[in-house]
């Protein structure tokens, strides 16, 4: 291309602010940091993947987010997904459970079983996971504020079913710091919230060493407006905050780092996403090795679920979301994820119908079975463009992390609302660009059609679920050994007051069928409640 031709071209930046050239060559890779950081799959710095043979050995885990109404209804949906070839579960809880309220709490009115499964006691977990082999199907719990309680419940349920908790695999989201930035299911103030995350990490390191107690989420930060570089940078800062906390409490880095996992978002520019993941993997390995002196190779791994994000889907012409989902899955596979999930095409409207959930699952299965994606590891490696962008994204992510450090660190920046502010400013700017037509979104600001009400089948909300749930809860409260429950709750209170790890006492309490609400009130009594810095 002649220089004159190039001068006529519009300047292009990706969302993270990297200028994109029309053509890339070897010199671009060299000028952006060189080829040295690429390495080999399964070897430091893991740019090309954390395993040597990646999907050739085993395809990614397929883990659609699911849960609604009563534990019985959710158990049926789990069965449907597994029967259709899903290899992991990701449990959605209703909002009362997520914020630590029982189903009969006045504040829970209208919310029981609505956006996820209602859980009050261990009994509900026993029902929800009935018939599911917990050795074959790994379970991920999307729970944050109330995570300590629900993790304890999962262990108690597994133990009751005869599984050895020491060899139990699975993941809890349990990333409270990102809840303060986006998603909003916080309960306790920032400091005790981190302490509780620390309790679960310490407890798992000792008693459930194969369980992943935390999945640090860039996903929701991105969904709240952050660009891809910020998404990864904030997630890394948050993960470091948990690590620093646990190190202060005496654990060694190699005793827990390999059990931390991540949850990232996919929508937008294909190459920016792929470069984000490759850069992120490399940067994380470097941080663990250089800053934390981790020795075990596994401690350096960026293990992740990379899912097709709802933020990229549209209400307009919802069927187009099936196409978007397929591209997101492709990106996820090209990025070397361990686990994949896709928002279903109808999610801008409703809880996914069985059909929509199956289409998401089939999208991933088509990639595995028909497209040759599992044959070769990191197929984009060596591309001038992808390697240049990987170098540049690493630099961007590091720059955002440095900026957080200069502001006094992520915990302070979140407590004071600075990160929330930065992210909502981005969200507003993104919307402005969309409204001005600077960002184009098919069906939204271009290629629109006059739509009748789109043909999306709404998930029927089970109006009876709440009454059913409350009835079970009341029956249970009458039948359980109440003096034992009270004594167990006093135990939790004592441990919390003494500043000790509450997990062992919480496990005992859930085994006695203490409720989510009772346990939360106990912890609130000691820790207090979060006071949200209200900004927009």
């Amino acid at each position: 291309m002649s220089r004159r031709d190039e001068a006529d071209l519009k300047t292009v930046f990706n969302e993270s602010g990297v200028e994109i050239k029309p053509v890339y060559a070897a010199t671009d890779v060299e000028q952006s940091g060189g080829w040295d950081g690429i390495g080999s799959p399964g070897e430091f710095p893991f740019t090309r993947g954390i395993h040597k043979h990646m999907y050739r050995k085993q395809p990614w885990t397929m883990r659609q987010y699911a849960g609604f109404g009563t534990p019985e209804e959710t158990n049926r949906r789990f069965g449907y997904l597994i029967a259709n070839g899903q290899t992991g579960l990701n449990v959605a809880f209703d909002l009362p459970t997520q914020v630590g309220l029982d189903s009969d709490d006045p504040q829970a009115e209208g919310e029981v079983g609505r956006v996820g499964m209602a859980v009050d006691t261990l009994k509900d977990f026993e029902i929800a996971f009935e018939g599911i082999d917990l050795d074959k199907i790994t379970v991920s719990l999307t729970i944050n504020g109330a995570a300590a309680i629900l993790i304890a419940m999962y262990f108690a349920m597994a133990e009751k079913r005869g599984y050895d908790v020491r060899s139990l695999r699975g993941t809890a989201q349990n990333d409270i710091l990102k809840e303060f930035i986006g998603r909003g299911t916080w309960i306790f103030p920032v400091a005790p919230s981190i302490k509780l995350v620390g309790d679960t990490i310490l407890y798992c390191a000792q008693s459930a060493p194969r369980y992943s107690p935390v999945s640090v989420c860039g996903y929701h930060i991105r969904e709240s407006g952050a660009n891809p570089a910020q998404e990864m940078a904030y997630a890394f800062c948050i993960a470091k905050a948990y690590m620093d906390h646990v190190l202060e409490r005496g654990l060694k880095i190699d005793e827990f780092a390999s059990r931390l996992s991540f949850n990232f978002d996919i929508h937008g520019d294909i190459f920016e996403q792929v470069a984000k993941f490759r850069a992120g993997r490399r940067l994380w390995a470097r941080i663990l090795k250089e800053e934390y002196q981790a020795q075990e190779p596994r401690s350096l791994w960026l293990r992740m679920i990379a899912g097709g994000g709802g933020g990229g889907l549209t209400r307009e012409q919802p069927e187009n979301n099936i196409v978007r989902g397929a591209y997101y899955a492709l990106i996820s596979a090209l990025s070397g994820t361990q686990t994949m999930a896709l928002c279903s095409y109808d999610e801008a409207y409703t809880i996914p119908s069985e059909k929509a959930a199956r289409i998401s699952l089939r999208t991933m299965q088509i990639l595995i079975e028909e497209m040759g994606l599992c044959n070769t590891v990191d197929p984009l490696a060596g591309s001038y463009y992808v390697e240049t962008l990987t170098n540049q994204m690493e630099e961007r992510i590091r720059a955002v992390m440095d900026e957080v450090d200069t502001r006094g660190g992520i915990v302070r920046a979140i407590a004071e609302g600075h990160i929330q502010n930065a992210v909502s400013r981005e969200a507003f700017e993104n919307l402005r660009k969309l409204e001005r037509g600077e960002t184009r979104k098919v069906g939204v600001n271009c290629y629109r059609v006059e739509e009748e009400q789109p043909q999306v089948a709404f998930h029927p909300f089970n109006e009876g679920a709440c009454a059913e749930q409350i009835e079970r809860l009341e029956r249970l409260r009458a039948e359980r050994d109440n003096p034992a429950v009270e004594s167990a709750l006093r135990g939790v209170l004592a441990e919390a007051k003494a500043g000790r790890n509450v997990m062992p006492s919480v496990v005992e309490a859930v085994k006695a069928y203490a409720t989510v609400g009772e346990l939360t009130r106990c912890l609130v009594e000691v820790y207090g409640r979060y006071d949200e810095p209200v900004r927009f």
Binding site: L95, Q107, E111, G182, S424, E532, V534
Partner: protein, 132 residues
Amino acid sequence: MAGGKKTRVLVAKPGLDGHDVGAKIVARALMQAGFDVIYTGLRKTPEEIARSACDEDVDVLGLSILSGSHIPICRRLKALLQEHDLTDILWLVGGNIPQKDHEELKALGVDAVFAVGTPTHAIIDFIRERVS
């Protein structure tokens, strides 16, 4: 805006839903359009919202709800608005609201429903037209 008084808007997040991207975007857009905007933050009860609307003497109340619990919330709020003698307030609801529920919300006294994806200027124009 009679007498030069700025139109006052309360943007509120009722229920337990923590998705506040939309509420914050709308709050910011309304502020830039020249309104006085108060944002409640997350997880406010209908009682707290009605009290804030009364104390802050607002002209407009905008609720953002994405969890699907808009009908039970608005049912409770209707009674509270009557109790606080706030029935002349302009009452808007935004979020993930299925078309089939729009009529029921309007029957409860909601003046307009703005689904996800509504351009911010449509909300601004509606408020300007109705509050004068």
